[in-house]
Point group: C2
Chain length 278, copies 2
Amino acid sequence: MLEVVSEARSHGGRQLVLRHGSRATGTPMTFSLFLPPQAEQGRVPLVTYLSGLTCTHANVTDKGEYRAACAAHGLAFLAPDTSPRGEGVHDEEGWDIGLGAGFYVDATQAPWSANYRMWTYVTEELPALIAADFPILDMGRQAITGHSMGGHGALTVALRHPGRFRAVSAFAPIVAPSEVPWGEKAFSRYLGDDRASWARHDAVALLKSGARTADILIDIGTGDPFFAEQLTPERIERAAAAAGQPLSLRRQEGYDHSYFFISTFMAEHLAWMTERLR
Amino acid sequence: MLEVVSEARSHGGRQLVLRHGSRATGTPMTFSLFLPPQAEQGRVPLVTYLSGLTCTHANVTDKGEYRAACAAHGLAFLAPDTSPRGEGVHDEEGWDIGLGAGFYVDATQAPWSANYRMWTYVTEELPALIAADFPILDMGRQAITGHSMGGHGALTVALRHPGRFRAVSAFAPIVAPSEVPWGEKAFSRYLGDDRASWARHDAVALLKSGARTADILIDIGTGDPFFAEQLTPERIERAAAAAGQPLSLRRQEGYDHSYFFISTFMAEHLAWMTERLR
């Protein structure tokens, strides 16, 4: 049952914020959905955007500058939250674990496993929910993108669902979480010591083990403070080249990790997706 | 002396947030300034945006979606705060008075008069400061705009500085503050009982008393909850028609008072200004 938190007309379409009780996480979950003006005439493709550490649906909804391009191209734009939230949801100190930091996995380790089931949420429950409630969404024409932790989410979700997405992009993604501090911290807590379970949530490891997806476009700023230690774009360049996975990875001179960076290239990503969603 | 609070590359230009000690308000003041890529080659026109009630520089900087258009047209974009802030600055309960609600006047009534001198700040001190610190700004080519209380500010600043601005726009402005609850509350506290002093800060009253400015473009949403009681667009339509002041006022179907509305029409306003700044 979807509750409308807010609705506003924007760029000729409707910017919705919606809430529902999630079976996957056992909590209320809030997300935003932009419906372009074309959705009043017929079915429209869906772009899912997975957000980064500390974010909710609101960051990209406020700062992402996606609505003008979505209205121009006729794209719906879905932005889920990054973790379960609410009373009783386990958390720990630090903005890189717990609330706002679900890392798009189903936690197997207590106490995280009670609620931190973002993989099931974003890959199964939420798509089924909006497909049922918004029949104007053409779930046969989907693209996915994300930022940082959400770029990791977009890449791994796409690599493990071949055929679901016609285009995959990311802004400054964590491409090899098993090998960098953010991912090691999160995966050891959520997934435990079994590194085989980590590999199923690691885009570089998935490429090495034979997974493939549609064309990938990645932008990363050369002024990103997390470039070398956490994002390591050279790892996915090497893995994609070895695997024959189409990848365009662009180093954008002087850009940082913020929405000032994301919003700069958002319209290009959406135009690039549109070519592949036709 | 300008302190750089933050700087980020965005849309090919530089989004700055700056702070300085203000002589006008007697407090530190923070503002944002976007410099488009063209500012690396030569002088660029300046658009000043005055924000609405409760806002700081940050709202439009985050949500205004102005950078893509400013980069396309080569416009700098300045966003001041809406009031003095800090310890010792008087405030009262309510988001429509005091902090975040300076109404772009120089208060004459104690205790407000100590710091609430936003008229002098936005018309004199801040323009002089940035002109000196950023010689790439072409202060001979300026436009001004604003939202709600800031639309009131933009209209009154422009009407009282004929020749300074080549284009004037506003999003859902308060056009006749002397005659609506927000303005009556603010003006009675800041300016006292002398209604002649109110008229100098009332766009409709200024038009009636002979003030004129460059072409005015106003957008207002028909779904704006403040449309009839606070914004009263028909008052400026009548006054501009009687005065022969060029005004294009558009009622935008279904839009509300939020940045979802402002961001929708921001690019059009900036393109419209650009034609007049050539």
